[in-house]
């Protein structure tokens, strides 16, 4: 983020470059009824983005196309379509190496195809923002919501946040740039949401004024040399130590990897300050807690309401950031829980595994209910899982309609 010298000046679209804190926490908000894709467009309108590179894949195609409109209007300086997702992510790296604020969107098989680039982005300390509108990744083809791809992103060295609502999405796109461009962080951000559930449904979202935008990215605060005419990338790439076989080359590479993960750790302080904590909690003194991220949290809220009608009190932990992982917060929030229910929109239960690895007495964790391939998650199946954990008899959901 640039220094204070540009605050109060106008960009070429007449937007006032505004202190990020003032823009996000103090500026008036206007309630607007938008789809998640439209919300992405409105956030990028205010994000002072230099380059957006697009490739069509459902369910992010609409957002990618809408950013094209922003380019036509002059809000984004450069916009083009890559040859594939792999090409897009490589081109994003090139733009970020050159000192641009970069934005892209992808989904499902596109995320998987581009995967090689993500540890490269982290290793090169490129603060690119990538929206991931999660969908099925395996054959047979599915374009429906499924969060399996997030599991693959968790060990890339990227920051990974998981939005529940369109409002999360709007705020976190803007705040994401602020956190990931901090010099002590300076890492790419995968901002994930559950495809269709967030991207293609309308919701009320409170928007900041359209005539305000974030300060521009200042590449000269980067923790690695910015590429320019004095420092072309060939100077960094010539004699790369990975091409040598000796102890010090290996040790340097290991230290380099440690430094990437150290930067993820450093992002905690900034993430907590900007998105108001890595988790949100409700009624954590209850015996039963629902702990999850994304729209599984929304379904959990409905399940809590249904159970309250029956006199069963259940608390909630919404995990907002997956990297950095809020293990301390989760330990604290779940310390009184006898049963920890983890609903997920994927078949493997990666969230439950992460939670089990973070808390004592991990047999308290119920890994489910889980759905995949685009199935919805009726709140009733969460209710059913909770009743099973409590030893309360309840009807099997699969029997409905027979």
């Amino acid at each position: 983020m640039a220094t204070n010298s540009v605050i109060g000046t106008k960009n070429k679209k007449g937007q006032v470059i505004t202190d990020a804190r003032q823009m996000m926490f103090e500026a008036p908000r206007t309630p607007s009824f938008y789809t998640g894709s439209e919300v992405i467009k409105e956030a990028i309108r205010r994000a002072n983005v230099d380059v957006m590179i697009a490739y069509p894949i459902t369910p992010q195609s609409e957002a990618a196309a809408l950013i094209g409109e922003l380019f036509a209007e002059g809000y984004v300086k450069e916009y083009f379509r890559g040859e594939s997702e792999f090409a897009v992510m490589s081109e994003c790296a090139g733009a970020a190496f050159g000192g641009a604020r970069v934005f892209t969107t992808t989904a499902g098989p596109g995320t998987m195809r581009a995967m090689e680039n993500f540890p490269m982005w982290s290793g090169a300390r490129l603060p690119i923002q990538m929206i991931v509108t999660c969908r099925g990744i395996n054959s047979p083809l599915s374009i429906q919501p499924d969060t399996l791809e997030i599991a693959y992103l968790l060990n890339t060295g990227m920051l990974v946040w998981h939005a529940e609502t369109a409002q999360d999405f709007y705020d976190w796109i803007l705040k994401g740039y602020i956190v990931s461009e901090e010099p002590d962080v300076h890492l790419p951000l995968a901002l994930c949401c559950d495809g269709f559930f967030v991207t293609h449904t309308k919701d009320m979202v409170n928007l900041t004024p359209a005539d305000m935008c974030l300060p521009p990215y200042d590449p000269y605060r980067s923790p690695v040399p910015c590429m320019d005419m004095e420092c072309p990338p060939v100077r960094m790439m010539r004699d790369p130590f990975v091409m040598k076989s000796n102890y010090i080359s290996y040790a340097t590479h290991a230290s380099w990897q440690q430094e990437v993960w150290a930067a993820v750790e450093r992002s905690r302080k900034h993430t907590i300050a900007w998105i108001d904590g890595l988790i949100e909690t409700e009624n954590t003194d209850a015996d039963v807690l629902i702990v999850s991220s994304g729209t599984a949290v929304s379904q959990g809220r409905e399940a809590i309401r249904l159970l309250a009608d029956e006199g069963i009190r259940v608390g909630l932990v919404k995990i907002k950031s997956l990297r950095p992982w809020p293990w301390q917060e989760i330990r604290e929030a779940t310390k009184n829980a006898k049963h920890i229910i983890v609903p997920e929109f994927n078949v493997v239960g990666w969230m439950a595994r992460e939670i089990k690895a973070s808390i004592p007495d991990s047999d308290r964790v119920v890994s489910g209910p889980r759905v995949g391939g685009g199935m919805t998650m009726p709140p009733e199946i969460i209710v059913s899982e909770i009743k099973n954990a409590l030893g309360i008899r309840n009807a099997a959901m699969a029997g409905r309609g027979s």
Partner: protein
């Protein structure tokens, strides 16, 4: 609350990054010593003390201050030269203040000349060769500084100080943040103020810099 302390090594075959051990960076107006957040004033005094205690106190200026790529960099370079001259004036004849640049970050093969430069990929060579027991990084890009500081902590007993223009360095034993010309000059003032009050270290380490 972490129990980990950022101390002179040799620490480990592959020491952890201090951030991963729970060490947090200081906020504006603060520094850290051994990973503990302290008021910045305390960091000046301790940095000056460590410089004056060392047999070979050394400044490692990096590309951000070695090249006059903007006006601020040129002014900082002048301030660093002033700090070096002050150090030379304030140490005893038995001590040897040095200034060794880190001109760029490329690994150099078969090896660097440790008499004339330090490289972030094997900074320990320069530390060992010159028997440096206290050093300060300034003007080094943060990523490369952290690599160097961690490798130095891993394999040598050298005390490390970071004069960082950004958020500071947990991998140093002592770190300033938001480094400016004024802060570098203030450190020089502290060195002058403590001149003659600090006893030179007699510690000899078998595997570190003080051999």
């Amino acid at each position: 609350m972490t129990q980990y302390k950022v101390l002179p090594g040799p620490e480990h075959f592959l020491p952890p990054a201090a951030a991963s051990m729970g060490i947090r960076l200081p906020n504006p107006g603060e520094g850290h010593i051994n990973g503990v957040i302290v008021p910045e004033e305390q960091a000046y005094e301790e940095a000056a003390r460590q410089f004056l205690m060392a047999k070979v106190p050394t400044i490692f200026p990096g590309p951000l201050v070695l090249w006059a790529w903007n006006e601020k960099a040129a002014k900082k370079a002048t301030a660093i030269r002033h700090l070096y001259e002050t150090l030379k004036e304030c140490v005893t004849p038995q001590q040897r203040a040095m200034l060794i640049p880190m001109p760029d970050y490329r690994p150099k093969y078969p090896k660097i000349n440790p008499e004339v430069e330090i490289n972030p990929n094997h900074p320990n060579l320069t530390i060992w060769h010159n028997k440096i027991d206290c050093c300060m990084f300034v003007g080094v890009h943060c990523h490369q500084a952290n690599l160097s500081l961690k490798i130095i902590r891993g394999g040598t007993s050298c005390y490390t100080i970071a004069m960082c223009a950004q958020a500071g360095h947990e991998d140093a034993m002592l770190s300033f943040r938001d480094a400016s010309v004024e802060k570098i000059m203030k450190l020089a003032e502290w060195v002058r103020k403590l001149k003659g009050t600090v006893k030179v270290s007699q510690v000899v380490s078998k595997s570190g810099a003080s051999n």
